[in-house]
């Protein structure tokens, strides 16, 4: 019984402290609160640097975009969040659609972020660009045979293709922009062709797709470039894999963004705007690239060495919010053709 009593007392003490702490932290002028679907190890160094330079503290909580969005909606006008940060234009578009983000005008942001990588109404801004491209085995694939995403539906790739699950928003956005380009009917044919060509069940992440290609289970796949970079760093540059930039004669490589917006009911909107602008400037943009081998959204910022090594490419300049607008259609389409 004494054990239970002690545990109870400890619990009560911790509870009291946490209440006290939650009271302390409310509504301080120089603190910015961020809900982030970008993981801690990718954002903390940025926020630390920002705090060093400005003295403003940034606090954050990480989760998937869906729950964070739901939390913002539920908290409504009483939310403590000043900024929502998430990956994928689909999620950003949805946040804007659900009216949790404020429209902002900022010359800095409009100068640093190209128009197709931000919301036309200024509710969110892309902060880094991620290219979703084709990866192939240098041992078994002649890059001459590769051309477009669409061509991966051809018979020559039968039993040679590996894909990540359709539940990942990256694939939903890819298919959504294909719908925007080709219409539903043609896209359904293409995605159905992918499914027929699969060497094995879809994987739960991009890294597993590349490992399967290295192991010889399949020959080509579709991945985000920074996963390829991580694999190179982990396994060495001699890994028999290479990136291929598809659709160069047409619209270009599918690109997506990670980005952020200021919440409609932010209690500290000026500071949040300052952070958002800072994130779009040279120093932070370099860090984005260095931290996760993504492409800076700011055209003037140089790519890191490893990223430069993958070569230049023409990216799709379609308005990335198309990905959000057609996401539901894309998910339904992938369900119909049995792409799990």
């Amino acid at each position: 019984m004494r054990v239970l009593l002690i545990v109870g007392l400890v619990a009560a003490a911790v509870l009291g402290v946490s209440f006290w702490a939650s009271q302390q932290s409310g509504g301080q002028g120089d603190e910015i609160i961020v809900y982030s679907a970008r993981q801690e190890h990718l954002i903390k160094p940025l926020f630390d640097r920002f705090t060093e330079e400005t003295g403003m503290r940034v606090r954050y909580v990480t989760d998937d975009a869906g729950p964070l969005l739901q939390r913002l909606r539920a908290e409504g006008a009483n939310t403590r969040a000043d900024m929502l940060m998430t990956v994928d234009a689909g999620n950003l578009w949805q946040a804007a659609e659900q009216d949790v983000l404020a429209s902002i005008e900022s010359d800095t942001l409009e100068r640093n972020v190209p128009a197709n990588l931000r919301d036309p109404d200024g509710r969110w801004f892309g902060l880094s660009v991620r290219a979703r491209t084709i990866v192939y085995s240098t041992e078994r694939v002649d890059p001459e045979d590769l051309s477009t995403y669409e061509a991966l539906a051809d018979d020559q790739w039968d039993g040679r293709l590996c894909l990540r699950t359709s539940k990942k928003v990256y694939n939903q956005s890819l298919v959504a922009t294909m719908i925007a380009r080709h219409g539903e009917e043609l896209t359904e044919e293409i995605v159905s062709g992918w499914v027929d060509n699969l060497a094995t069940q879809p994987f739960s992440n991009d890294t597993a797709v590349m490992e399967a290609i290295v192991a010889g289970q399949c020959d080509v796949g579709i991945v985000n470039t920074y996963y390829f970079g991580r694999l190179q760093e982990r396994d060495g540059d001699e890994t028999p894999l290479a990136l291929f930039w598809p659709n160069q004669d047409a619209e270009g490589v599918h690109v997506n963004v990670s980005g952020a917006g200021i919440t409609r009911h932010a209690s500290n909107p000026e500071a949040a705007l300052q952070l958002l602008e800072w994130l779009s400037e040279q120093e932070a943009q370099e860090m984005f690239g260095a931290l996760n081998m993504e492409y800076p959204v700011r055209p003037e910022t140089e790519w890191t060495e490893r990223v430069r090594g993958w070569g230049e490419f023409q990216g799709d300049d379609i308005d990335v919010s198309e990905a959000g607008r057609r996401q539901v259609d894309a998910v339904m389409l992938m369900d119909r053709v049995g792409y799990r």
């Binding site: 990480t62 869906g66 729950p67 939390r71 539920a74 939903q172 369900d335």
Partner: protein, 570 residues
């Protein structure tokens, strides 16, 4: 060993209850608890006010049939596997003697410390086409195509079965130990062979415990999202997330979740109904273990050792391997913080949940009327809700309260309750009430009604009865429940993610952040830490339950019973 009472007594549930004045309060307390727990669950039901026909049509035309088929396969498979492993291992360690039995006794509980999502990515890491096993096979034989694919329905069932069998093992083992070999001896004297005695006597008598363990395992399997996501195996839970993340319809997600709940409620009711009104009250017997010899002994050792290796040792080895080669560099001072937060949340949630479970079990015991029993049953439903759905529901309740507080009293800066520890702890309690309750209730049920009756005859009031008669006898059960909840809370992911206060990151949160990016090797570090921390309560648990028959059933219970009987007779 036989006491004046028979070793087994059959009682109707009402016969043993103490009716009379002063017990009404417990009923209403139970109803109040049920109301708090049901509030978020009811919120999921409210979603039916906003039906979304287009999404429903789409789901039913495309994926729903397969999802239900997959879910049924998962449930049946996991049930079969946990029963097979749990019951057979429990029987071996509780009743038989074979080489290594003393170690397996507690070691077979260790997989409980491994979260399903961790075992899932470890198994895929080892056994998938690009993993070391198939790689070596290809080096030796040129092909590994004949190797059964791990990312398959069978693989999911295997992983879930291996992490969930300890629930059955633990409860069945306690039941078998409580029976003691005397019962088997009696059956054997009555002319039954060993197998027949097992199936006709030991197994039916342990059925409530086995059923409770299986129910826990299946509810966890139904609500799981982490492991099935790693396998990309589509279940009903997947549909819930698809509706939410893919179609951004929290309403359809909640509707699907409420269907899942309905299914669980029906299943639990059926089990209770078929179990009927039989109640067993047991007094532990002492006697000799069945000593296995020769081949049989080594088969037993091999079986127990095999399960332990596959479910625990090999995955742990793989995780440690990953840590050493890939993620040891991530280890810094912040890990201490993560660790303290994880343990702190586990302990606090365990204390609260078990306290509430005790109130429920006690109310059900002393006042088993229709209302109380329904209230108690409803209080345990949260375990079957996928963590994320439950978390959102609890969050909605709290943000509603927050907003009401702001608008009514001008209090708080918003998010004061919803982002607080209280909300998180409540979410844990709702989610894991079933875990705590099954332990506590089993302990309460094992107390023969004659004991409290005797105390009451002697004039003990309700409070004194609980304090001086029930609590001392229940201590092992309460402790076991608390440890189970503690382990579960430490492994819990979705509710922690959504509701944790700022800065309250736990090991599970870190695992999520890394696995969601496919960085399994780096996730190995928090995963290993979580498994090792989880081992502490598990080891406590097994040490306790190993002592239980001697200390509580035979020692405390017998002594108490003896005293009560003597006093009652005087």
């Amino acid at each position: 060993m036989a006491t004046p009472e028979a070793d087994i007594r059959w009682m109707s549930p009402t016969a043993g209850s103490t009716r009379g004045g002063g017990t009404g309060g417990w009923r209403w307390l139970a109803v109040a608890i049920a109301a708090i727990i049901l509030a978020p669950i009811l919120i999921t039901l409210l979603s039916w006010l906003q039906p979304d026909q287009a999404i429903w049509e789409h789901l039913s035309q495309t994926v729903l049939t397969r999802l239900i088929g997959n879910t049924v396969f998962l449930i049946v498979g996991v049930a079969a596997l946990v029963l097979l492993l749990g019951v057979s291992l429990a029987w071996l360690t509780a009743v038989c003697e074979f080489p290594g039995r003393r170690v397996f006794d507690w070691a077979l509980m260790l997989p409980l410390a491994v979260p399903a999502y961790v075992l899932a990515f470890t198994f895929i890491g080892i056994l998938d086409y690009s993993g070391p096993v198939q790689g070596s096979l290809r080096d030796w034989f040129g092909s590994s195509d004949w190797f059964p694919p791990i990312r398959s329905p069978g693989g999911v069932v295997l992983v879930m079965g291996l992490v969930l069998y300890p629930y059955v093992y633990m409860l069945a083992r306690t039941a078998f130990m409580a029976q003691g070999p005397t019962l088997m001896e009696a059956a054997r004297i009555a002319g039954m062979g060993p197998w027949r005695a097992f199936f006709r006597v030991a197994l039916p008598m342990a059925r409530p415990a086995i059923a409770a363990g299986t129910a826990l395992a299946l509810m966890e399997a139904l609500a799981d999202f982490g492991a099935v996501a790693v396998f990309n195996y589509d279940t009903f839970t997947t549909a819930i997330y698809k509706a939410w993340y893919g179609f951004f319809s929290i309403e359809v997600a909640a509707q699907l979740a409420s269907l899942l709940l309905l299914f669980v409620a029906v299943a639990l009711f059926t089990e209770r109904y078929t179990r009927g009104r039989a109640r067993f009250f047991q007094v532990a017997g002492s006697g000799h273990r069945i000593v296995l010899r020769g081949t049989r002994a080594w088969l037993a050792t091999g079986f127990a050792g095999g399960v332990l290796a596959v479910a625990f040792l090999i995955p742990l080895f793989q995780l440690v391997w990953w840590v050493i080669w890939h993620s040891i560099g991530d280890l810094d001072a912040r890990y201490l913080n993560l660790l303290l937060r994880t343990v702190g949340l586990g302990l606090m949630a365990a204390f609260i949940t078990v306290s509430v479970a005790l109130v429920l079990a006690y109310a059900k015991r002393i006042q088993p009327d229709w209302l109380t029993r329904r209230a108690v049953a409803a209080s345990t439903l949260g375990y079957a809700l996928p963590g994320s759905v439950l978390a959102v529901a609890v969050m909605l309740v709290f943000t509603w309260l927050d907003n009401a507080m702001v608008s009514l009293f001008g209090l708080g800066g918003g998010g004061w309750l919803a982002g607080s520890l209280v909300a998180l702890l409540l979410a844990y309690s709702i989610r894991f009430m079933a875990v705590a309750f099954s332990s506590v209730d089993a302990a309460v049920e094992q107390i023969r009604p004659s004991i409290p009756e005797a105390a009451r005859c002697l004039g003990a009031g309700q409070g004194r009865l609980l304090r001086e008669v029930y609590l001392p006898m229940l201590r092992p059960g309460l402790f076991a429940g608390a440890l189970l909840v503690c382990v579960d809370v430490m492994k819990e992911m979705p509710a922690t993610l959504l509701m944790r206060p700022f800065g309250w990151d736990t090991l599970a949160v870190r695992i999520f952040e890394l696995t969601s990016e496919g960085e399994w090797e780096r996730a190995a570090l928090p995963a290993v830490t979580l498994v090792l921390v989880g081992l502490l309560p598990v080891i406590f648990l097994v040490r306790r339950s190993a002592q239980q028959p001697r200390r509580s059933s035979r020692g405390t219970v017998q002594a108490t019973a003896g005293r009560d009987l003597r006093l009652g007779g005087a």
